[in-house]
Every structure is written in structure tokens, then in C-alpha cells.
Amino acid sequence: MKPPPFEYTAAASVEEALAALTEHGDEAKVISGGQSLVPLLAFRFARPSVLVDINRIRGLDGIELDGDTLTIGALARHRDVELDGALRARCPMIVEAVAQVGHAAIRNRGTVGGSLAHSDPAAEWTALALALDAELDVVGPSGSRVVAAGDFFVTYFTTALAPDELLVRARFRIPNGRSGSTFVELARRHGDFALAGVGALVTLDDDDVVADVRIGLIGVGATAVRASSGEEAVRGRRPTADVLVEAAAAVDADIDPNTDVHASADYRRLIAGVLVRRALETAIARARGGDDGRS
């Protein structure tokens, strides 16, 4: 189908975008990469009267790794993150997650900010934001504020953003030290939304004890999930095979998957546990300096 009629304004600056959002309120919708919004328009599930295009705003597409902080502008394209060699070496979890976002042509156009603001519960970026304690810079008519990722994703396709606010960048915390990470997911077909997906990052101390662990899941609830019970099961312990099985079981308390045409809730629970165990195995092997821990 074809999108319904709407007015269109291409903002040249954040100020212009905010002015348009203030003027039109919840009649307006921000468009960045459009890879989720344009299909919604084509199906007429979304019927905004004004589209505020932020693609022409300069300076919002940066990807900067400084110490343990990764700052990504809202307009950075998935593909630019995927091709970032420094990031691949430092935090493979991010690059492996992004490589599983849609298909190449989607990643060329889709943006990090758009993915976060859309808050699809199966979107890889939402789990990365939760697992890596992201801080989201939000600007609105009365100034700017910082929203923790844990407070940002409210429910299906709903965030803490007000209609007149704009997400401009996100800062992810990338632990230094003896760390390893990965992102694994299961989808029916390559490039489809995941039935479930898991990002895991593990930091080991010199005695091989888990000093820090972060687990984020997608596809198993109304938003992405930080698996605090699963993390609790491994933190401060030596990550033996038994401990990882315990962690995988503990994640059951962190998730609340739905049954839909693609998979039952029970099946999603099952694969979430399996993926958590596998992700932890790989992250730990990488932290120890091996390439891959898949057994």
C-alpha cells in the first residue's frame, strides 16, 4: 500500500526539529532511517499529520570510543557501527548484535537512535543499551535531560520520550580489563526479528572469578530485559559449566515471553536459557583470551 498524506519538514538543526515537534505535538512523528516507520505508514498503522525529518541535521552521526565510554549519535547508521574495526576488537557484542539487524540494505539506512526510540522488544540495540548501562541524551523544549536505559523502555513501542522530545545520542559503558562479550540470537530466517536474543559481557578477575557480568535479552517480553537474576547467579563465582547452567535457569525469572505465530512462550523460555548459556561460554572464553568458547 501507499502511505497516507502528511506534511513534511526537513529540520536543519535540533532546534528546528524541536520547534516543529512543539508546534505539532503528538500529530508529528520524527523520521530518521525510516526502516520501521515507513512500513508502518505503508500499512497505515501510523497516520501522523506531519513528518519531521532529522536526517539533514549535522553532527548527530558520530561513533566515538573514549576510554570506557562509547558515544553514538542518534543518526549513526547500523552499517557504520558494523564496520567499525576498533569497536569490533573492543566490544564484539555490539558489532555482532548490529550485524544481525535486518539485512544489509536495512542497516545502511536504519539508525541507532531510531532503533532505540522505536523500542521494538526484539531490537538488538535495546538489549545493548540495557546491558551496557547506556545513558540517553534527550532534548526537549525546556532543555536537555539524561535518561538511563533502564528508565527509557516502557513497553511495546513505547519509551519515556515525550512527543516534543528528541533522542540525540546514547553513551554506552564498555568495561575495561579482562572482558569478553558476544551477542547471539535465534531467528526463523536470516535477518528476521529474533525469537530470542542474548547479549552477554563478562569481566574476570585474576583468579578467574566473575567480577562483572551483564546480560541483556530481546524477544522475551514487552521490552528488552536486563537479566539481573541470571547475572546474580554468576557474579562473584568461578564460571564453571554448572554455574552457567544455573545462570541459564535463573534467567527464567527475568523474562516474560509471549506466544505468537512465530513461537510459543515456552519455546522462547527454552531458547532464552540455551542462548544465555552459550553467550556466557563465548564471553568467558574471550575474556580468557581464547577466540571462541562454543562447545
Binding site: K2, F6, Y8, G34, V38, P39, A42, A104, R109, R189
Partner: protein, 161 residues
């Protein structure tokens, strides 16, 4: 909503036209500019038939608005062959290896492959299959398409020598 004047640079040529904001880039290329080589299958970003290049990178032209494409360099399937009609090595390879049957999906495949080979002149089969996962063909299966891409890589490397 009133139509807006547009200037789009397609295959190195500036085209003028007018479109309402809601008109997708794919529809504008076809109906506004008469460049009907870009095909539309699903019109919601799933099938890949409408894939074109935006500043050298593959994008789905059904998921962009025509008004968003101003100021960018667009390449459509019409931009592949030489003005004298000589086929591009990728087209040559698809023809030689029977990488198409009805041809509906082919423009999208050709444009996706164009970006792949620019990025990696010698992709292996797994990389080709992964890259082309966003393009759907309902006639041939993908075996001949993969072979065509491998052959296109050979032709292109020879041409670049």
C-alpha cells in the same frame, strides 16, 4: 498535500519533477521519472526488488520518501549498462549463469551485488548468501544466483586488471 518541486541526481543525470511528501522514492523513480527498471514487490521493505544505491550503498527505495533523496547520488539498474548497451559485468554474469528466470527480482539483486563486490571483490559463498538474504527470488532458487555473483566477481576482477 501539495506536490513539491524536486531535483534528483540519478545515474549521473539531474532530473526535475514534483511529488507529494508521501510519495516513496521507488514510486517517484518509476512514475515520476519513467525509470521503471526499479521494481516494486512488497512495498514495505521485505522483498528487496526495489533496491537501489544511495551514495554507493544499497537501500530499499520503497522505504525512503522521494523528498529525502534530494542532494544524494542515486544509482538504479538503468545506470549499470554502458550507454552503448554493453552489459555491466554483474549483468553479464547473471545472464551467463542463468541467475534469473522471470526477472522481476533481478534489478534489486544486481544493485545489492554491486555494493557487495565494491566492498569485497572476492566474497565466499557464505558471505554472498548472507548479503543477499534481503533479496527474495521466487523462481530460480538461489543456487544460480550465488554462482552468478561468484562469476561476476571474477569478471569484475578481470575488468579491473
Amino acid at each position: 498535500m501539495a506536490a513539491r518541486e524536486l531535483v534528483l541526481r540519478v545515474n549521473g543525470v539531474e532530473h526535475r519533477g514534483a511529488a507529494e511528501p508521501r510519495v516513496t522514492l521507488a514510486d517517484f523513480l518509476r512514475d515520476g521519472l519513467g525509470l521503471t527498471g526499479t521494481h516494486l514487490g512488497c512495498e514495505h521493505g521485505v522483498c528487496g526488488a526495489c533496491t537501489i544505491l544511495l551514495d554507493g550503498r544499497s537501500v530499499r527505495s520503497c522505504l525512503m520518501l522521494a523528498v529525502q533523496a534530494e542532494g544524494h547520488d542515486l544509482t538504479t539498474v538503468e545506470g549499470l549498462a554502458s550507454p552503448d548497451g554493453a552489459l555491466h559485468p554483474i549483468q553479464e554474469a547473471f545472464s551467463e549463469k542463468h541467475g534469473l528466470q522471470c526477472g522481476f527480482c533481478t534489478p534489486g539483486f544486481l544493485m545489492s551485488v554491486h555494493e557487495l563486490l565494491a566492498h569485497d571483490p572476492a566474497p565466499d559463498e557464505a558471505e554472498i548468501r548472507s548479503w543477499l538474504s534481503g533479496n527474495i527470488c521466487r523462481c530460480t532458487g538461489y543456487q544460480n544466483i550465488v554462482e552468478a555473483v561468484q562469476y561476476a566477481a571474477v569478471l569484475q576482477r578481470e575488468a579491473d586488471r
